[in-house]
Symmetry: C2
Subunit: 155 residues, 2 copies
Amino acid sequence: MLKLTKKADYGLIALKHLAVHGPDSSSAKEIAETYGIPLALLSKILQKLAKNGFLQSEHGTNGGYKLARDARDITALEVIRSIDGPIFLTACFTEHGYCCHTDKCIVRDPLQKVHEGILRLLASISIGDMLEAKEQDSGRSPERLYGLGATPPVV
Amino acid sequence: MLKLTKKADYGLIALKHLAVHGPDSSSAKEIAETYGIPLALLSKILQKLAKNGFLQSEHGTNGGYKLARDARDITALEVIRSIDGPIFLTACFTEHGYCCHTDKCIVRDPLQKVHEGILRLLASISIGDMLEAKEQDSGRSPERLYGLGATPPVV
DNA sequence: ATGAACTAGGACTAAAAGAGTCCTCGATCG
DNA sequence: CGATCGAGGACTCTTTTAGTCCTAGTTCAT
């Protein structure tokens, strides 16, 4: 129901951790223990992130993972897609734009707009941005960052 | 994985249908058949929407449902929340802002921004807007409507 | 050269959410 | 009074998510 999976969460946490811990690598075990994430599960996620070019892995003793690219160059959207697969707001959207109800579906077009908005939102935030955000808004204003007005949020 | 449930989809479809069919009511059966939605399932959804004040129901022969308020006054966010319950982008967010990892969770704050953006997006589109959208963009520009830039979307 | 500390990855299992069914009851109208 | 509706409880089936287990290959230090 419109929620990220824990895997995606864990992936983002791990990437941010690696970004914070600069150029030296961290092991899956270290990250798992720090955030209370099951090691075996986190390992899978990190492996996938490594295969998809976000991380660089080092085998053997003192091995681990480090970012393969600049943190500012990794968007939340890429990470989530990499871990959970493609994102579709509704069952209407598939890889090839097919919709089960085809012409009968009367909400596809309006939702498509919302869908694009969400993707744009996720694409607009990078791991790098997350670092800054930590320290009480340094520099970049959230408004500019997310391209949205200042309407107060409600759950 | 960041997807609306079918129930929410069905609910939006039904509301739009009722908005299109003006002041006269439509039965659950009629809507179900039109869009190929299982009747029993749709009934539950319509009942919930009625209980939450979106629809007005009429029992008995020739009964059915009609909108209880103006279509422009019903946002997608309200509908989705009404059907699926509260929306949380990650497990971090609950009714009272609690997070399982508490201080250890380093992505909560950045994701909170994304979360708010999505809510704002969903709150910005009403059933009424969906009617307009049907006829190839009449008047209101999507850009203004969704408050987002024109970056091309990618799935 | 051996063992400890890593990553890589396949195969499973358990739990939770989603989707849908079945059956009964009360209201309304003709 | 019977056909047509909505109201609603109680399930069941399926899919997704989350997490586990086990084995194999790499690298390093002693």
